[in-house]
């Protein structure tokens, strides 16, 4: 097995997780409204719109991560996003999400793996 395959698996599995959640939020927002933190009730936008926007952002960033375009930046944004969810959720769900957020930080802190578009374009330029 390729010595860097674990990084590919990590990046894809993490991106697919956001892709699944993003599509779910886009298609069935009412299921996710109950998970919105209380403070979002005071935002001047409806809950459904907030959930869909959140889902759309997750889908776009997940695609960026899967393609490997601006990999570190995309992973960092998603990690911060998930950390925010962990803080507002709290409890066991918060601990799980915080742990998953550190996976994103691990991707963000390392240089892009060889299967990312970033790495391919950089190697072509050098």
């Amino acid at each position: 097995m390729h010595p860097l395959a674990s990084r590919l698996v990590l990046r894809y599995s993490w991106a697919l997780m956001f892709l699944w959640f993003g599509v779910e939020q886009l298609l069935a927002p009412t299921k996710w409204i109950t998970y919105l933190p209380e403070l979002t009730g005071y935002f001047p936008i409806p809950g459904i719109m907030f959930v869909r926007l959140n889902g759309w952002m997750e889908i776009v960033l997940a695609f960026a991560l899967m393609l490997g375009i601006y990999t570190r930046f995309s992973a960092l944004l998603l990690a911060i996003h998930l950390a925010g969810i962990a803080v507002t959720s709290g409890g066991a769900i918060g601990v799980r999400d915080a742990t998953l957020a550190t996976v994103g930080l691990a991707i963000a802190f390392d240089k892009p793996d060889p299967w990312t578009l970033d790495a391919k374009l950089d190697s072509k330029n050098t």
Binding site: I33, T34, G41, G47, R52, L53, W56, L67, Y70
Partner: protein, 175 residues
């Protein structure tokens, strides 16, 4: 501009278009009830055709002398112009306050798609709030079509934040 930047810009454009579409198609639309029993004053404008002058109907051929003058009525313009009477003022009957509702009125709006509730003497349209309620839709659905004062106070008491949101949904007062 590098290929990488172009892809990133494309991603940003796709993100913005998608976000704009989501905002547009999920935008809240105000659905304030229109008072259907408010009388509308209409002006009564006479549309009757003027009484035709017997002289005007006479054809010149009926005159035996071709060069003879046709007698002209004294005031033809006034007779031909339509008579416009002054609009009769419509006195509205003692109309009920359109923003005052009875519990029976509230009870008619008892579904998820049309949810009113009476809380502390005021009437609120909670339809748009059902899916925005931070505590989930069920507590709001339970208020539809009834006096929800006890349930509301049991959940929120005198908390200021829920009250500040509630006042935005007010549509009237309870009779």
């Amino acid at each position: 501009m590098t290929f990488k930047t172009m892809i990133a810009l494309g991603g940003v454009v796709v993100f913005l278009i998608g976000s704009g579409s989501i905002v547009y198609y999920n935008r809240p639309v105000m659905d304030l009830p229109l008072p259907s029993d408010t009388p509308v004053a209409t002006e009564e404008i006479a549309t009757e055709s003027p009484t035709p002058s017997p002289v005007a109907n006479e054809l010149p051929s009926q005159n035996p002398e071709p060069n003879a003058q046709v007698p002209v009525p004294a005031q033809p313009a006034e007779q031909i112009a339509p008579v416009q009477t002054a609009p009769t003022p419509v006195t509205p009957p003692a109309a009920p306050d359109p923003n005052s509702f009875s519990l029976a009125d509230v009870a008619k709006h008892n579904s998820v798609s049309d949810c009113w509730s009476a809380i502390r003497g005021n009437v609120y349209n909670l339809t748009s709030w059902i899916e925005r309620h931070p505590g989930g839709p069920q507590p709001i659905i339970g208020l539809c079509g009834k006096d929800g004062t006890a349930l509301y106070e049991g959940a929120h008491g005198n908390a200021k934040r829920p009250a500040s949101m509630l006042i935005l949904l007010k549509i009237g007062s309870l009779k």
